[in-house]
Amino acid sequence: MVEPILRAINTGKIYPGGIEALRNANLDIAPGEFVCLIGASGCGKSTLLRMIAGFETVTSGQIVVRGRPVTGPGPDRGMVFQDYGLFPWLTIRKNIAFGPIARGKPKAEALATADRFVSMMGLDRFADSYPHQLSGGMKQRVAIGRVLANDAQVALMDEPFGALDAMTRERLQEELLTIWRATGLSVVFVTHSLEEAIYLADRVVVMSPGPGRIVAGERIMLDRPRDVSSPEFNDIRRHLASLLHADHAREAA
């Protein structure tokens, strides 16, 4: 087996005040793997993602990226937020060039890199627009583009398509898969849509609340592009739904 690019080892998070957001999570991500974290709110999926990003401290266990423990945010782990987090004072082109410039690349080189990703994300017409002039789907393309332009090895995506309408969401899912295949990026993708998880992921990790923990990991063996209405897809959906709901039932009991 290949050395994982990212490992969470017995990772736990207890917030000051005693709320346990995550208990004893173990997760290995292989290079180039696409993993979806799914679960009801309070299952710790966003906490785990934010700890991988380095925005939250780990209170037990550790998170290791390419052999080194995570101590804070870094450009090797690019984050795509649900609310975009674009810099409103920069044009689209300069938003994408922001990372390379921050890491000390010469400005001309950074802008040339940015132009490549502006084109890749289909944003040529908007290169000199500001974020507030773009639709949600366009903004999310910029957010993905800036993570790619910054040579991130792992993309951390926190319900990135959750605020988009259904059609835009499907288009972006498709584009994300294309980019993922082309770049060999590792992706950790948080969602609460079972269909989205099964459609996108190599592996779906099911999490459950009270305290947050990982309850199952299912490899999705369907060929891509996947047909969400096929019987095989539905079998997997039923199976994962039962894992999600089993837990609710126990909770209620």
Binding site: G54, P75, G78, G85, Y130
Partner: protein, 273 residues
């Protein structure tokens, strides 16, 4: 989920008459007519009529009517006042912007300075007048101080608020793209708070024009405030009103210029662009 519908093209209905200029002129015309009516009904009253003020304005600008101490003084007085307004405003901005950023971002500075500033802030500029004349003497220095003081607080308060209310998400975004904590200030805080600081500067400059008359009560010889004070002592009400009108127009034009500048520099901000 809200479906994204392409925005409809701007109103393409058959050409309609734009009534905006009409809307803008109604209130001034009504006010002017009421003023004229009121003074016409009380001839010889204490308030001058629009015609008298108009004549006074002409004489202030070009002379040739009264040929007294006020004739042809509009330009020199306007220049003197504008010099004080902009000078004092720049001084206030030079102090309030950095101070506001420090108070807004550094807890230790906030705890040390904020209580003092909050107690000093409600003290009106007029209340500072006697003290200012003792500290800075009778004359332009005192005027300068008072105008700067009036313009200082709106810049300070808006700067504090602007640097404090930067969206936390932007710090996360910058850090995950490789910005070190030490550089977050220049890469995120400063650009993100420009619109708020701009609002403070605009209010501060506006207030400088408001305070200029009080400032020029400190015994300065020139300036629109000094002109109004002299006219008041001589019961030249038409000059007083002419002076008020000049300050109003000057303040308006000054604000218009600042606003246009803001629109250029802050095109990225939905509030300004």
């Amino acid at each position: 989920m809200i479906a994204v519908v392409e925005a409809l093209p701007p109103d393409t209905a058959p050409a309609r008459i734009d009534i905006t200029p009409l809307l803008r002129i109604i209130v001034p015309v009504v006010l002017l007519l009421s003023w004229w009516g009121a003074t016409a009904l009380h001839p010889g009253g204490l308030i001058s009529s629009p015609q008298e003020v108009g004549t006074a304005l002409w004489d202030l600008a070009f002379g040739g009517i009264n040929d007294d101490a006020f004739s042809e003084m509009l330009l020199p007085d306007l220049i003197a006042s504008a010099g004080r307004v902009y000078g004092a405003f720049l001084l206030a901005a030079a102090l309030a912007l950095p101070l506001g950023m420090l108070i807004g971002r550094l807890r230790i500075v906030k705890e040390m300075l904020e209580p003092t500033l909050q107690v000093l802030r409600p003290v009106p500029v007029t209340a500072w007048l006697p003290l200012s004349m003792i500290m800075f003497g009778i004359g332009p220095k005192s005027a300068f101080f008072l105008v700067a003081l009036g313009s200082f607080y709106p810049i300070l308060i808006n700067t504090i608020f602007a640097v404090r209310s930067v969206e936390p998400r932007l710090f996360e975004a910058a850090q995950m793209l490789g910005v070190s904590p030490a550089r977050l200030f220049t890469k995120v805080v400063l650009p993100a708070s420009l619109p708020g600081m701009f609002t403070g500067l605009r209010l501060g400059l506006g207030l400088a024009w408001v305070v200029i008359v009080v400032g020029e009560m400190t015994g300065v010889q020139t300036g629109l405030g000094a002109m109004i004070m002299d006219a008041r002592q001589l019961s030249r009400t038409e000059i007083v009103i002419a002076g008020m009108a000049i300050i109003g127009v000057a303040g308006y034009l000054s604000d218009y210029a600042v606003l246009a500048l803001g629109r250029r520099l802050l095109a990225w901000s939905p509030q300004h662009g």
